[in-house]
Amino acid sequence: MPNIKSGRRLVSLVICSILVFAANSMAAQPKGKLTTSDKKVIDFLVNDWGKDYSVTSVDIAMDAVGVKQSEETRFRIGSYIKAHPELHEVIRRWGWVTLVLTPDEKLIARVLINTEREGKPNPSVSEIAKAVGTGEGQTNSGLAMLERYEIIKRDNAAGGPSYTVVPRYLKWEPRLDFLFHTVTLERGRRFNTN
């Protein structure tokens, strides 16, 4: 009898584990799964990259195909690009960071990188906002995006949060990192170039 009971417990445990695993998988899937309009953005980028030295970023592509700007959508598409360098040579050559961040986010990253390289104290959100020329709300959104991409780390120290740059991004070539050159033609085309 004890063997049957423990056997039943084991079966119950296995079933519970499978259910928990399945629930976790189902919860995780939709978050990272591309929508039809996400795929349109990626198709646009894959077709655009390389033309006229294009390294067009996700935000510009979203506008081009008429997808409403949203940080969640941009992060979902950007994460896909980050995970799929096989999509295009431009990703492998210029790096996913160049393609998934907005100009504001790149400038925010540069404020933090330059500060750390120069050995200065971490800047506050208002100092970053002033340096980049963005409002504090926009700066916080930019910081949150950089944190989601694990480019920076948040430290909830006393006196408010501060941010440090993940070491690999400090070691990039100074003056060549987190750059953008956005070209807009009067006839409507907009793209980033290298």
Binding site: Y53, P103, L107, G133, R175, T182, L185, T193
Partner: protein
């Protein structure tokens, strides 16, 4: 700049950029390959290629 003076030489073009040494934004406009506006005024432009 290769594009401005080459393939896109007959276009009106706006370029939004930033200083590589800091975080200052740079905005320049070209019309048919010629510079018509640069902000800030201290922007230094190198147009190589002949």
């Amino acid at each position: 700049m290769l594009l401005v003076s080459g393939k896109l030489a007959n276009e009106k073009i706006t370029i939004d950029d930033s200083s590589p040494e800091g975080t200052a934004r740079i905005h320049v406009e070209f019309d048919k390959g010629k510079l018509v506006k640069a902000d800030p005024d201290s922007t230094i432009l190198f147009m190589g290629g002949g």
